[in-house]
Symmetry: D2
Subunit: 410 residues, 4 copies
């Protein structure tokens, strides 16, 4: 009798999906919905292959979790069959709370963090599956005694990060994100309930940190990607504003609700089932379709932004190591005002600013732990002075229209 289904994953070859609760969760419409949520939002505007989804990522992370659990068991770490399944459920569902365009719209659509939403989903699923997710939820919440199980789900060296580096690297073609995931996993171990990496694996961990850093600056925070994402946030904010002003904004019903309501954690607390049902109806497709149609909306701000996104006429984005001065911003605003090809109000609406920071590794209390050849457990930063960034790197940005001539061809 077959115990699992085999899936083709270009990143790893073949991956196994065990029959039973794991298979059933994947079949669930809430999980299938992740097929319509891109892993890296608008990154495909720069790397056209980057259309992979949260669905694929979750299955990949599951695969790595299976490898890690097998390795640990092979080293004599006690993991019961139930714990094994629970850890797999936890990683499978860790991102189920992501909404359209993942992180980009995370704070625009609702006032709820995606991990919180993941937890709401898990609890609802736990009801539907008669309590079978109890242990997985405790692992996810880091309340389960065997801490290493939670650390495999989220931590500085977790299966989530390993999969997304491998996967984003594969689909963007930025080969420099590739990591020695199999070697790192083979070097995992557990000491006093904590996940550790054996000393001879530290070079692979250093490389993992370098890869993560390279992916940040070359992909996730790529200027053009960031510009597109800023426009996406802005276009949604504008649509919501118009709705609130009573202006007509055509949108699929799934999206319409979120334009008219600002959902908060309290809303989930008072009626999780209802909020989840609404949230689960929404994905990248509705927003992409809506934006395309908003090109014809009478509001020139909404229309301009939508045209830019639909046809990849993206804003310029400038980075700086320091905050931009007021004088800087005034100058850009003035230029936008003078620019006759831009709609009226460009100076108020089209100067987008913010900051981004990245730290490949933080010297927090939750450092990666290394098991030395002598059998001691020490934080990574004590044993390697390589790949450990002393401080978080912050970049400020200013983002505004290039001189595109906005011509509708439709």
């Amino acid at each position: 009798m077959k115990t699992h289904k085999i899936l083709n994953d270009p990143v790893y070859g073949f991956v196994k999906l065990p029959y039973g609760i794991l298979f059933d969760l994947v079949e669930h419409p809430w999980f299938q919905r992740l097929r319509r949520i891109k892993q890296v939002s608008l990154t495909h505007y720069v790397y056209p292959g980057a259309l992979h989804t949260r669905f694929h990522h979750a299955l990949g992370a599951l695969h790595l979790m299976q490898m890690a659990l097998e390795t640990l068991r092979g080293k004599g770490v006690e993991i019961t069959d139930e714990e094994c399944e629970a850890a797999q459920i936890a990683i499978l569902l860790h991102d189920i709370g992501h909404g359209p365009f993942s992180h980009t719209l995370e704070h625009t659509l609702m006032e709820v963090h995606h991990e919180e939403v993941s937890l709401w989903f898990m609890e609802q699923l736990n009801e539907q599956f008669a309590g079978k997710l109890n242990m997985a939820i405790r692992i996810f919440k880091k309340e389960y005694p065997k801490a290493f199980l939670g650390q495999l789900v989220s931590g500085q060296l977790d299966m989530d990060r390993m999969d997304y580096l491998m996967r984003d690297s594969y689909f963007t073609g930025v080969s420099e994100g590739v990591i020695g995931y199999d070697r790192i996993i083979k070097m995992l171990n557990v000491v006093d309930g904590q996940l550790v990496v054996e000393e001879k694996g530290i070079y692979s961990v250093e490389r993992f940190l370098t890869s993560r850093r390279i992916m940040y600056w070359q992909v996730y925070l790529h200027k053009t990607v960031l510009a597109a994402e800023q426009m996406l946030i802005k276009v949604l904010e504008r649509a919501r504003q118009l709705c609130q002003e009573g202006r007509e904004v055509e949108a699929p019903v799934s999206l319409d609700y979120f334009l008219r309501h600002r959902v908060t954690s309290d809303d989930f607390k008072s009626n999780a089932a209802e909020q989840l049902r609404r949230f689960a109806r929404l994905d990248d497709m509705d927003i992409a379709s809506a934006i395309k149609h908003w090109q014809l909306n009478p509001d020139p701000i909404l229309s301009y932004l939508s045209w830019g996104l639909a046809n990849r006429k993206l804003f310029r984005l400038e980075f700086s190591g320091e905050p931009f001065s007021m004088a800087n911003k005034v100058a850009v605003r003035e230029a936008l005002k003078q620019n006759k090809t831009l709609p009226k109000g460009a100076d108020q609406h089209f100067l987008l600013e913010g900051k981004e920071s990245n730290s490949a590794y933080t010297l927090s209390s939750k450092e990666i732990l290394v098991l030395t050849k002598k059998g001691e457990v020490v934080p990574m930063s004590q044993i390697s002075d390589f790949g450990i960034e002393p401080k978080t790197f912050t970049k400020y940005f200013l983002c505004y229209p290039k001189n595109h001539h906005h011509e509708l061809t439709h």
Copy 2:
């Protein structure tokens, strides 16, 4: 001064997009629209990575065309700079006429073949770009004297096929589709204006044919993919039927038009600009978004099909080497009628049938030509008895619901 933009293509590493007309065409909204049309329709239901688009494919085929032109010039084949550019334009735009979900809906949405639409697009673009596409159009239509240029665009060994095999293989993870594209291209030559492959390349060509065949049965005509695509055709047909009956079918305006009109070649002839504008507004996003919402449509047939597609509850599909008997079909219909979990009318609407055929290579007048070591040009089938299929292989299929319990979770 930079002469080209460099893009990251995971399939080939880096690809070049020359500035000038080629760059401008890529920037055009009609070309950008291809970002929202998946290359292989619903194949991602089986191979979750297969979300790549016609946009990416067109750029990849352009890259191979550049390699081929450079190789031929290196062998002394005379190709002017203008011809070089024209051949690149022709391959870049060869698929611009594809609509949502590419081949799947080709004959459902309109009564016009995609190559015909590509030509309409090219002609409109030719007007917009002041006649700069003249030569490209002649090449595309195979009216240009140097026949090999058109053969590089479409033929039994063209840049289109090479790119899609490589690309579909990469994104599905079916590594068996990989071909020695660089070796084949290095072996191309021209004799009497015809594209030929040098004899020592025939093993690579045999492998190309094997790969193509494997991709057909393992990917393009995969049972589950075909089942999903049949459902997609059916859901659109049902939506159109309901519209015609005056029933309410919510759809984005772009799609709405095509549900209410059956556009033909004649419509294009009478007003190409208008038809293209309408057609260019439509893509995968609108249809995916609409189908998701149709789950709530009062029509149980539309709703059931939409639910199945949105949540991947797909029909079963059976293949047979011979046509299915009437008795067979009657039996399935009766079972559908008895099945209480299916909506009323299942027996009339849910038995989908058809046939698919594949020929890796045909013994037509347009066979691949081989330049032997002795300098003769002979058809491939005279020199290799390997990989040449004597006849087209046809498979008949029957497709109908499994016993899914149709529960709406939204």
Copy 3:
């Protein structure tokens, strides 16, 4: 406790070598000796990366055997732990009888076939390991009741062929030899004790056959490779002849013995231990070192051939679909005689001829068996007309010096 050692194999990532008899056999000097025998003889003269050894191939084939056994067990095929180990031993040692430069010198050094020598080695090892190889030997000799175990070791779809295609492809860089080994292995099954491949695996098998064919003509029987190998055979024959004539031919003692004795099967029968000890002392290194020194040997024939091999001044090789005519050969001989840059006797010694044939697949009684979807077992050729070559392809060759000027720089 660790059950196996992990090795790095660039072809498969990591491979496992189980502790116990398998590990001990690998540690044995007779097996370590395979580190000094190149898998593909002089192929590196054309593909400089092709320096991989029989040692590496044996470990790779072991890895595939492990995958195959695990797959079959997973499908319920009964395989005891002892059989599992025996099948692994059989594949590990299947090529242990190869001598220097593998096939090239197989019939030049001794009058014994390498499979026969493998068997002599296994029997000696069986004595050394107290009978632990009994079952492996029966499997190797195809005398074990469960025929499929022997078929995994040698047959038209065995682990040996799969590994060498993958490995030779990797190290030559001829990517067209890559096969879907993992997919094929997943499709293996056993019916009535015979190894079969499930029907949906036939495309992968077709591709395996195409790959094999391509590797034959592009690598194994590459003109330049064949020319080098012909020279290698000739140089050894000349050295032996000189020895027999009492002329001085400096050689390491290990080689010296074989130059002076023509070892036959009977010699093995009368004293296997002694013959194996002598044979095991000899490998590529001795021959390469000797040839280099023979450049200075007073015999001009030996010296010329050695110079050509050491400095890659290789003979020209011509292929023909038909045997070369006597007139042809006379003409070449005459030219060699006239050529003043060649040593005296060139006409007698430097015209090398022969034939090579390749059949990717033979329609023998031992055809690949396919398990159809209906549960029948049929020979591959009944279900696929693709990739099945109706007849063996034979090419005749003639091989003789180019106009190299033979100048010693040492």
Copy 4:
């Protein structure tokens, strides 16, 4: 007319060897000899695929040099055709002075550094090729005005290092050595005659440094590799000592000379042609063949070491961050003395010690220079605090026999 020969390099696909002086140099016996010198000595004892040669590396580095020169020219850096060829010659021949087992025996066989020998070879070749290597020699010696040409040949970011990281990674299968060589090369530029890397390439350079570091500890200084190499040094030293004592040590004539003479720089100065001729006759083959035969030598020290190397019974090696204490060493010596399975004299001959250090990057005056977005040129260490190791890392080692029972099976 063909301008170049195409070679298959599994690392890069296809590489070009231009006809003319470059082709002729590759054809030269001195260059062909590099086919018999492994790039990474005895690394194949741990990574069985690592049998690649200096020959292959030189061609790979040539390929990268071609890419770099083309990139720089494309950015407007003036490089004449003659300089272009000279830079290619310099990289092609940069390692031609390597002797058997490359670095391992560098100071054991002769008292001359391999770069010095490379230069002697180049000068002799310059005579043979009528002065055509003049400019290449100046570039190699860093005497040519355009400093960047020499920096491409050797420096902290040169084509040599890039190729060996890629190549060693490919053939060992340690995928973590892979670098984004194409991206780095695309980011190269020249300012004031100095090679610089554009700022947006620094992440790739960081990764290059991490890769280099990982390859050091995981491959080049792997404990077992180092142990084997220490034994190789020791076996040669012992053979030489025996020769000097007048004891019989059978060796091929090419090796015999070096066992009896200690060649110095002065010997080259007095008669370069003669020394080179002798040196060029010697390669890995002779030494491997000799060691195998020395297993039967009457000297137990020579025989034991030879047996260990031939059959991979390697010494144990211990690393320490600090020098080993005298007490430590005395203890090991005593144990060796007591060990009855070891030959007499083991305590004097079998305790091998030394140290190894690695610095991925040094803060020397020859730092990698970065061209910032503002157009300034600054040392890498000023712009990145990542991947820059503040100090060189040194490890001390002690190496001595495990408890192998030394049984000759031959």
